[in-house]
Structures are given as structure tokens and as C-alpha cells.
């Protein structure tokens, strides 16, 4: 497979994971922006483990979600009770704190970072496996009591409290899951790019994830999964003169979608409708198959 195509697929998976990491806490009504913070932790864990400690790549990939989750757990102890917008800025603060600490730690490269990170041995299989496992986790959370509690929390925290879910625990769990997804994204990023350095992780990464989640659909997981490859891939195929205006176009689409379609392009209604259509199509296909089989056996 060609290197540009492999890079495209790798970054698509990275941004899908980051999009899901933003989506999960948003289900509780929290704009949790510490994705890049956990991504940095996961990336440096993977980079340091494989270069300085000579770990196998598989160990780094398996360990990165736990590292990301741990890094998300620590501030979640304080942020779980913070109101929605406060969480956004406080979690954003974590990026700057961690990046500044990394810049001053010489043993992980300081401002220069870590280079010569080995590439993935079986990139397609690894990407597919990571995406499948992460997608299954997000789907199961969405369709579980935790997901329903999170949704209730986003509509009305007071009503949610009356029904029993522990609001702080739900918020914290979502933040930890978000950290796990971001940590994995960080590890994949490190193995794709081959190097990590502090300036690579900043607010600008969030500016790529925001359009993906809020244009794609911020109330379902499918919006991110569909739109991340599209928004990442379009600039690669368009002429440079048009690609130069990418930020303006994404910003304008983001503004229009927020006003006209606040749920995003792929809304919950659309997903429900697609599911109903798929089920009815499947049932009709099954009925047609059985009918044909009965006619064939009757003959």
C-alpha cells in the first residue's frame, strides 16, 4: 500500500478516536477539551517505551489507553463536579501544563522531543483492530445505562439527580474513557509520524477535531466516524489554491451547521431512520430468500 494512503488511513483513525473522545463527555453536557492532553501522554508513553526501553510496539499500543485514562483520571477528581463551560477551559489548561512540563524534562527529549519511533509492523490490521475495539466500546457505552444516564445529565442535571445516577461518577467515567481513547490516538499518531515533540500537541489539534464532531454529529458516534475521513481527505485531493481556504470553509460550515442543524449532519433521527430502514430491508430480503427457497423445494 502506498505511503500517502497509509498516512491518510492512520490519521483518519486518529481523528475518529479523538472525535469519540470529545463526543463521550459531551453526552453528559461537558465540553471536555483534555483530549490533546491525554493524546500527548499516550504519544510520549509509546515513543519513550519503544525507543528508550525497546518495548514491542504491541505493548505500547495496549498500554497507551491505560496511560491516557490515568492522566484523565487525576484531573477528573476535581473536574467531575465542575459546570459545563468551566470544564472546557480547565481541561484546556491541562494541555499547556503538560506541554510545559515535557519541555523541561530532558530525559524525554525536552523541547526537541523523541525521534526515530519505529513504524507499525502491520499497520492496516492494527488500525482496523484499534478502530473496531474502540468503536465497540463507544457503542456499548452509548447503549448502556451509563450512556442513558449521561444523556439525562446533559438535558437536566436536576432531574437526573432525582432518578438516581451519581452525576459526579458518570462525568468522571466519561472523562476517563475519553482519556483512554485519546491515549490510543496519541500512540497511533507517534507510530505514524515517527516523532513526537511538544509543539506538535496544542490547541491547533483541537481545531481539527471540533469541525469533525460538531459538523458530523455531536449526539451520535456515527457522525465522527463518517466525517473524519471526509474532512481529513478532502484537502488531500483538492487543488492547492482551494486547500488554502480550508480553514475558512471549515469555520463557515461549522458556523452554519451550529445555527441550522445544531445536532450536526448525522443526527440521532437520521441514525434511527437508517437503522429502521436497514432492519426492514434485511427482513424483506430474508422473506424474499425464504419464499424463493420454499418455491424451489415445492417444485
Amino acid at each position: 500500500m502506498s505511503l500517502p494512503l497509509l498516512n491518510y488511513l492512520s490519521f483518519s483513525v486518529v481523528f475518529i478516536l479523538l472525535g469519540w473522545a470529545l463526543y463521550l463527555p459531551y453526552r453528559c453536557g461537558q465540553l471536555y477539551l483534555a483530549l490533546v492532553y491525554s493524546m500527548t501522554a499516550g504519544a510520549y508513553f509509546a515513543a519513550y517505551g519503544t525507543t528508550a526501553l525497546h518495548w514491542p510496539i504491541a505493548l505500547a499500543i495496549v498500554g497507551s489507553p491505560f496511560v491516557g485514562a490515568f492522566f484523565a483520571f487525576l484531573p477528573a477528581l476535581g473536574l467531575r463536579r465542575a459546570p459545563g463551560f468551566t470544564t472546557a477551559i480547565a481541561s484546556l489548561a491541562l494541555i499547556f501544563i503538560l506541554v510545559t512540563i515535557i519541555r523541561n524534562l530532558k530525559f524525554i527529549g525536552g523541547s526537541q522531543g523523541i525521534f526515530a519511533i519505529p513504524p507499525l509492523d502491520y499497520p492496516l490490521i492494527t488500525l482496523a483492530a484499534v478502530l473496531f475495539i474502540a468503536g465497540t466500546l463507544v457503542y456499548r457505552i452509548d447503549h448502556s445505562r451509563l450512556g442513558r444516564a449521561a444523556e439525562l445529565l446533559s438535558y437536566s442535571p436536576q432531574e437526573a439527580e432525582c432518578f438516581g445516577p451519581n452525576l459526579a461518577a458518570v462525568s468522571m467515567l466519561m472523562q476517563v474513557f475519553s482519556g483512554a481513547l485519546s491515549g490510543t490516538a496519541g500512540a497511533l499518531y507517534a507510530f505514524t509520524v515517527g516523532s513526537v515533540f511538544p509543539d506538535a500537541f496544542g490547541f491547533s489539534t483541537l481545531l481539527v477535531v471540533f469541525p469533525i464532531v460538531f459538523i458530523g454529529g455531536n449526539l451520535t458516534m456515527w457522525g465522527t466516524a463518517v466525517l473524519a475521513p471526509i474532512l481529513w481527505g478532502i484537502p488531500l485531493v483538492l487543488p492547492e489554491a482551494i486547500v488554502d481556504w480550508k480553514d475558512v470553509v471549515y469555520g463557515a460550515i461549522l458556523i452554519c451547521v451550529l445555527i441550522v442543524m445544531p445536532e450536526g449532519v448525522i443526527s440521532k433521527g437520521l441514525v434511527r431512520g437508517a437503522g429502521t430502514w436497514a432492519r426492514s430491508f434485511g427482513l424483506r430480503a430474508l422473506w424474499a430468500f425464504r419464499t424463493r427457497k420454499e418455491h424451489a423445494s415445492a417444485k
Partner: protein, 291 residues
């Protein structure tokens, strides 16, 4: 001791800038219920406008300052219709995301179409970095004096508007309860638009002071200032005007002392570290939330 006083002087100048930016930010937060992350990007557009007018007029501040104020006011008021549908629903998180979209567009315009994205440097008569007073290590530049006292005058004028005029009374009424304000006949939409205009005027004045303090403008400055301003607002308490002024000064002094006494680039980490600690123990901010 002299070094400490020198850092305190620097800190007061930077802190007064933050205080002025936070005031404009809080005005929009209180009256229009939006999180205007793009506010500092509009300020940087004002700085670029001032620079272009200075180049065209041969360094005339008489033309540059009003031009910056007019441009920031117009751009600010142009964003009002975009925020109105979300502000009506009380979707504060989404107003933050919307303002990020606006910031992306403004940053692109500055990076590609204003001086080809190359940072601009303001002439000496604007940046005023020559020392007006010197006592050993302590040097107080003209720019720092203008910034500090100019901020005091601007904030005093704004507070006069807020507490001694009908417009200010309307703003306070809407900030307290938009529903009741509408019931008693205050034109909330018109006042909302006016708040964007006044925030734009404050932004234009801020643009001039930031140009004096930093002496340069570049496309990424909007993001750098925006994050600091939002952090200060959160540190003080969302919508708390007096708290915002105090915390702006505190942050400026803390940043200046950090830069002067700690090795490495810890000033950003310090600013955001203060936010994290405050939010963890006091989510409503140091002085309490007003929204």
C-alpha cells in the same frame, strides 16, 4: 529588590491589558450570554488595521487609533447575528464552539491575506519602548505608562457607562434576567447589538494598548491572548467584572514574576495551573460567578 520592582512594573502593564480585554469579554458574556473566544482575534484585526493606517499615513496616530476602533466595532457587530440563535437557547457551550469557528476564519484571513501572514512591527512612536524613567534596573517605558493609565481611563469610562447611564442599567437588567428585562420593555435584541458595539470599541482601544505593550502583531496572537483571557475570566468567576479586573492584574504580575525568576517557559503553565487549582476547589471562581 530592584529586579522585583522592575518585574512588578512589567506585570502591572501586562495585567492592565488583560484586565481591559477581560472587561470587554465579560460584557458580552453577561449581556449576550455568549463566550466570545474570537474577541481577541478581533482585537488583533484592530492591531493590523492600525498598522496599515500607520503605513499609509506616515505614522499618524490620529488616523490609526480611530480606524482600529471603527474596524473592531464593525467586525464585532457583524458577529452578533451569528450568535443570536444560540444565545436565545442558552447554549453556552455551542457559542464557544461557534466563536472558535469565527476565530478560525479570522486567523486564516490574518495569516494569508494581511501582510502575507508576516508579523508586523509597530514604529517606535507607537510601541513606546524607550524608557521614560530609569532607576537602576527599574525602567518604566512610555508605552507601559500609556497602557496602564489608558486602561484605567477606559475601564473607568466603561464603569461610568454601566452604572450611571440608562444603557448601562439596561445591560445590568438583561444580565440579571433577560426574561424580566423583556417583560419590562427593555429592547433586549437592540441592547445585545449595542453590547457588541461597545465591546468592539473596548477591543479597538485594547488593540492600541496591546500594540504599545508588545510592539508587534501576528496571526497567532489572537489564540495566545484568547486562551489567557478565558482563563482569567474563569479564574475570577464567569461574568464578574470587578473580579476580572483584579484577576487580570494578578495574572499579569504572576506571569511577569514567573518569567523573571523561573527557568524555562513556565508562564503559560502557571497561568493555567492557577485556573486548574481554582476550578478544582472553587468551581465558581475566586470572586464568584455572575451568570
Amino acid at each position: 529588590m530592584e529586579a522585583l520592582i522592575a518585574q512588578l512594573v512589567n506585570g502591572l502593564a501586562i495585567g492592565s491589558l488583560y484586565a481591559l480585554l477581560v472587561t470587554g469579554f465579560n460584557l458580552l458574556l453577561l449581556v449576550s450570554a455568549v463566550v466570545p473566544y474570537a474577541y481577541t482575534h478581533i482585537v488583533v484585526i484592530g492591531m493590523y488595521t492600525a498598522w496599515f493606517v500607520l503605513q499609509l499615513t506616515g505614522g499618524s496616530l490620529v488616523w490609526a487609533v480611530p480606524s482600529a476602533v471603527v474596524v473592531t466595532t464593525v467586525v464585532s457587530m457583524l458577529t452578533e447575528p451569528l450568535f443570536r440563535p444560540l444565545a436565545k437557547k442558552g447554549a453556552i457551550n455551542q457559542t464557544f464552539v461557534m466563536s472558535i469557528g469565527i476565530a478560525m476564519i479570522l486567523t486564516h484571513v490574518m495569516a494569508r491575506h494581511l501582510h502575507h501572514g508576516i508579523p508586523v512591527a509597530f514604529p517606535e512612536n507607537v510601541s513606546g519602548r524607550m524608557a521614560a524613567f530609569q532607576f537602576g534596573v527599574i525602567a518604566v517605558s512610555r508605552g507601559q505608562i500609556f497602557v496602564f493609565f489608558g486602561t484605567v481611563v477606559a475601564v473607568a469610562a466603561f464603569m461610568f457607562l454601566l452604572y450611571h447611564t440608562m444603557i448601562g442599567k439596561s445591560f445590568r437588567a438583561i444580565a440579571q434576567s433577560p426574561f424580566v428585562a423583556k417583560l419590562i420593555g427593555i429592547p433586549t435584541v437592540k441592547m445585545g447589538i449595542m453590547s457588541y458595539g461597545i465591546a468592539g470599541v473596548l477591543g479597538g482601544v485594547s488593540a492600541v494598548f496591546v500594540a504599545m505593550a508588545l510592539g508587534t502583531a501576528y496571526p497567532a496572537l489572537g489564540d495566545a491572548l484568547g486562551l489567557k483571557v478565558i482563563a482569567t475570566v474563569l479564574f475570577a468567576g464567569l461574568g464578574n467584572l470587578n473580579g476580572g479586573l483584579a484577576c487580570g492584574l494578578i495574572l499579569g504580575i504572576a506571569e511577569s514574576l514567573t518569567t523573571g525568576y523561573l527557568p524555562g517557559m513556565w508562564s503559560n503553565a502557571l497561568a493555567f495551573g492557577m485556573i486548574m487549582v481554582t476550578v478544582m476547589f472553587r468551581p465558581q471562581g475566586l470572586f464568584g460567578t455572575r451568570i
